[in-house]
């Protein structure tokens, strides 16, 4: 009974947040003079209207899921990793460079490129963890600042030393990766690629890791009660570096997946413009750092974004309406309104009902 109540309460929060987000979106639509139902209809069609749009949504969700998982791992340990963008970009760049310049058969290039992406993202992230653990430099801020450094550095690499000079277009990008090293598409003619399977597997593995392993327990303990974890022999500094390494690894894999599955080269701004990294962080916040929940939230956010494009195509409402819905969702969920509502109700009913939650 209690269990059932708890699950219901856990589900109620996100559901309410989604409703409030949609109401905020409706207000925004009304303000610009669109029809609310027509706009939401177009949004649904743009995200799930046909098999093509559905796979399109999933393909957009792929990097968001991976980044969200990485951030969720760090959040669970109590570390605010805001540096996913830089970690993803460096992962993408390393994957592209590896796939282009490593000799050998296609499958070897592909695997090496994925590994390179994970390692690059992980090391960049672990650097911030090390700076905090060793020199007490606030992680939240260093990760944020390192984003700018990473993105600008990658921009420099593809604008000067590794710039593709073969084409006539003056785009800041590397040359194309050999076709043998591409991540295969799951359905012909659709944008969904094998990276989605990696992301789904990652979500399940991370959920199992968190729940059933010693390492996962230590991570949760450290995030839940650092003092207790310290007494239990968990070394915070070490944990910080390892969890940041893993966290950045996920972000690096997200970047590598996009390069090997969608773009087939590193193109400047191709990963930062759709703000995958920030969507990933939003997904984590939305799901309260639960791995499977993060994956679902990532698909929801991706659906809002692809749905927004549908809205832009077919109505006069700008696609930015989805960013309002997303932001209100997050803001609402961060306050845990329902929780405080329940608490107040309990107080009124008398405090003898046993412990809350």
């Amino acid at each position: 009974m209690d269990n059932l109540k708890n699950t219901a309460r856990a589900l109620l929060q996100p559901l309410l947040a989604i409703i409030v987000g949609l109401i905020a979106g409706a207000i925004a639509i009304a303000v610009v003079g669109g029809s609310i139902f027509e706009t939401y209809g177009e949004m649904w069609k743009g995200a799930f209207g046909s098999f093509y749009f559905f796979t399109n949504t999933l393909s957009r969700a792929t990097p968001i899921i991976l980044i969200g998982l990485g951030v969720a791992l760090a959040f669970r340990a109590g570390f605010f990793n805001m540096g996913s963008e830089g970690q993803m970009v460096l992962g993408a760049l390393s994957a592209a460079v590896t796939a282009i310049y490593l000799p050998g058969p296609g499958w070897l290039k592909l695997i090496a490129a994925l590994v390179a992406g994970i390692v690059a993202g992980g090391l960049w992230s672990a650097l911030a963890g090390w700076l905090d653990a060793k020199f007490r430099m606030n992680l939240l801020i260093t990760t944020l600042l390192l984003n700018y450094v990473a993105v600008l550095f990658a921009g420099y690499i593809v604008s000067y030393p590794l710039k593709d000079k073969s084409g006539s277009a003056a785009m800041a990008q590397t040359v194309m990766i050999d076709k043998a090293a591409w991540l295969p598409k799951l359905f012909p003619g659709m944008s969904l690629h094998a990276g989605f399977i990696l992301a789904a597997a990652g979500a399940i593995l991370l959920a199992l890791f968190m729940r059933h392993t010693v390492g996962g327990y230590e991570v949760r303990m450290l995030g839940g009660n650092p003092l207790f974890a310290g007494y239990g022999g968990v070394k915070r500094g070490q944990m910080m570096i390892y969890s940041m390494l893993a966290s950045g690894g996920f972000a690096g894999l997200a970047g590598a997946g996009e390069v090997l599955g969608t773009q087939y080269r590193y193109l400047d701004n191709a990963l930062t413009a759709p703000s995958y990294a920030w969507s990933g962080i939003m997904a984590t916040l939305l799901a309260g750092s639960n791995p499977l929940g993060t994956a679902l939230a990532a698909i929801l956010l991706a659906a809002l974004q692809t749905g927004g494009m549908g809205v832009e195509r077919n109505t006069n409402v700008p696609l930015e309406v989805s960013s309002i819905i997303q932001a209100v969702l997050i803001l609402f969920i961060s306050a845990r309104f329902t929780y405080s509502y329940f608490k107040k109700k309990k107080k009124k009913a008398g405090a003898s009902n046993g412990p809350a939650v």
């Binding site: 925004a28 303000v31 610009v32 959040f75 669970r76 109590g78 570390f79 605010f80 805001m82 700076l131 020199f135 007490r136 430099m137 606030n138 992680l139 939240l140 801020i141 260093t142 944020l144 600042l145 390192l146 700018y148 450094v149 600008l152 550095f153 921009g155 420099y156 604008s159 000067y160 995030g223 839940g224 650092p226 920030w278 962080i281 939003m282 916040l285 309260g288 750092s289 700008p318 930015e320 309406v321 960013s323 309002i324 997303q326 932001a327 209100v328 997050i330 803001l331 961060s334 306050a335 845990r336 309104f337 405080s340």
Partner: protein
Amino acid sequence: MDQLFDVSLFASTLRMVTPILLAALGGALCSRVGLFNVGLEGLILIGAFAAIVGNHLTGNVWLAVLFAIVCVSVFSALMAYMSIHLKANIIVVGISLNFLAAGLTTFSLRAIFNVKGAFYDKDMVGLPKWDIPLIKDIPWLGDVISGHSPLVYLSIVLVFVLQYYLFKTVSGFRLLAAGENPTAAKSLGIKVTRIQYGAILMCGVLCALAGAQLSLGQVTMFTEGMTAGRGFIALVATMLGQSSPLGVLGSSMLFGLMDALSTRLQGFSVPVHFTMMLPYLVTIVAMFFFKDKSYMQEARKANESSR
């Protein structure tokens, strides 16, 4: 070298430093009452946008600044309500506020001006440039100090006002007590939550001014995400300045100089990527050398009790 470090570099430093300084003062107030405000970035962005909207609607610069203050106050009140009243984790609220600011400004840019990316109108008037009598005529100094927008001078004045307020008045002392030890302060009858609300609202006003300086003082236009991490640099400036107004002034000056230098270096044959990296790299290096232990612990506490 002489070409680089000339009068206009220092003059533009003063211009560049203002948004960072104003926001950092707001951050300092928040951190003094025990709140780690990561929403500075979003508040500045809303301020910058609201200032442009106000200017467009009224055609008066001062009404525009006032409009920015009102708009940002609404959002800082929301932030205060969520973090103090509903006891949401202030870091999470700050992060989501940044998302909301980014989403709301891009949406309103489309909805109000029907443009994407940036809004510029040649009829709009920016903040006036004030020439200071007497100082204007001093050869080198006059060119650096004179001829800025009023907000530049206001920010410097505010530093000293806040310094005096925090450390020399009773009300300022109560504010410090509320942050230092909320329980003890409460037992003395100090209304801690009211002081916290006040600090966040004041921080909102300062961020609105920072935004107005950004969009009306320098270029008279609004670009999507035009804050470009300045809110976070301001946060670092707060930390390096040990949350004291005079310290914040010093650390902000460093970042302002780097900002100006990075714009300046673009004229030289250095790849633009590296010049743009400069402020962020210097910020990281500065974090390495100057650490405020007590403030860090404050942030750490907030960090750890999050989940």
